[in-house]
């Protein structure tokens, strides 16, 4: 793994069209700006993992829906 040190306002370029920018550093939190083409998916790793875990849990749902009937007014 390549490890680089950057200061506030400095950037890293990945390939021709991806740019990471250190917007702010406060305490143990780094704020990053990310410029990437539309087809490159960018999201926090734990968010993607949480959604996958939620999808997995959803699959084991009971097929009986314990829910009062509600009209869809939307």
């Amino acid at each position: 793994m390549l490890i680089l040190s950057r200061k506030k306002d400095q950037k890293i370029k990945i390939g021709d069209d991806i740019e990471l920018w250190v917007v702010d550093i406060r305490g143990d939190t780094v704020k990053l700006g990310i410029q990437a083409p539309k087809h490159v998916k960018v999201f926090r790793q734990e968010v993607a993992e949480e959604i996958e875990a939620a999808n997995q849990a959803a699959l084991s749902s009971s097929v009986d829906l314990p829910f009062p009937d509600v009209e869809d007014k939307s």
């Binding site: 539309k38 087809h39 998916k41 999201f43 968010v47 993607a48 949480e50 959604i51 996958e52 875990a53 939620a54 999808n55 997995q56 849990a57 959803a58 699959l59 084991s60 749902s61 009971s62 097929v63 829906l65 314990p66 829910f67 009937d69 509600v70 009209e71 869809d72 007014k73 939307s74």
Partner: protein, 145 residues
């Protein structure tokens, strides 16, 4: 066509109910073809894989239990499903009914389906206020207050 469904066994499915998910669902990228089926119980739907019976998700429209849901998804995010506008899309949350505990909906990873192209995808909301487990009944109750 007749489709074997997880919830209701064999069902007659119309062509208009068939959807393509070019990227699948997060964690289930291998399944691309689904049918949208009204659940016997309102206001739920089933997103049933046409390839594998056990792959079926319960869906609900977020507007039913969550006021002013705006996950911050833009038309750019929906480019790969060819949605002509945000208004063209149906938006759903995947529901989890655990053995114990409250039924929850995932507002962080909404399902967008273009009515025009009949393609769908699971988006990732960039907004921190949306979690993977929103208590549906609790939020409904607090809306009525």
């Amino acid at each position: 066509m007749t489709l074997q469904t997880k919830a209701y066994g064999p069902m007659e499915i119309e062509q208009s109910q068939l959807l393509e998910f070019p990227e699948g669902i997060l964690g289930f990228e291998g399944y691309r073809s689904f049918a949208l089926i009204d659940a016997h119980k309102k206001p739920f739907y089933w997103l049933q894989s046409t390839e594998e019976t056990r792959i079926a998700f319960i869906l609900i429209k977020p507007s039913i239990f969550h006021e002013n849901y705006d996950p911050g998804i833009t038309l750019e995010d929906l480019e790969d499903i060819g949605a002509p506008s945000l208004d063209d899309c149906l938006v759903f949350s995947i529901v989890t009914v655990p053995e114990a505990g409250p039924m929850t909906a995932n507002l962080q990873g909404p399902i967008y389906i273009s009515k025009k192209t009949r393609r769908g995808k699971q988006c990732v909301s960039p907004r921190d206020e949306y979690k993977t487990k929103h208590d549906i009944l609790e939020e409904m109750a607090s809306r009525r207050e």
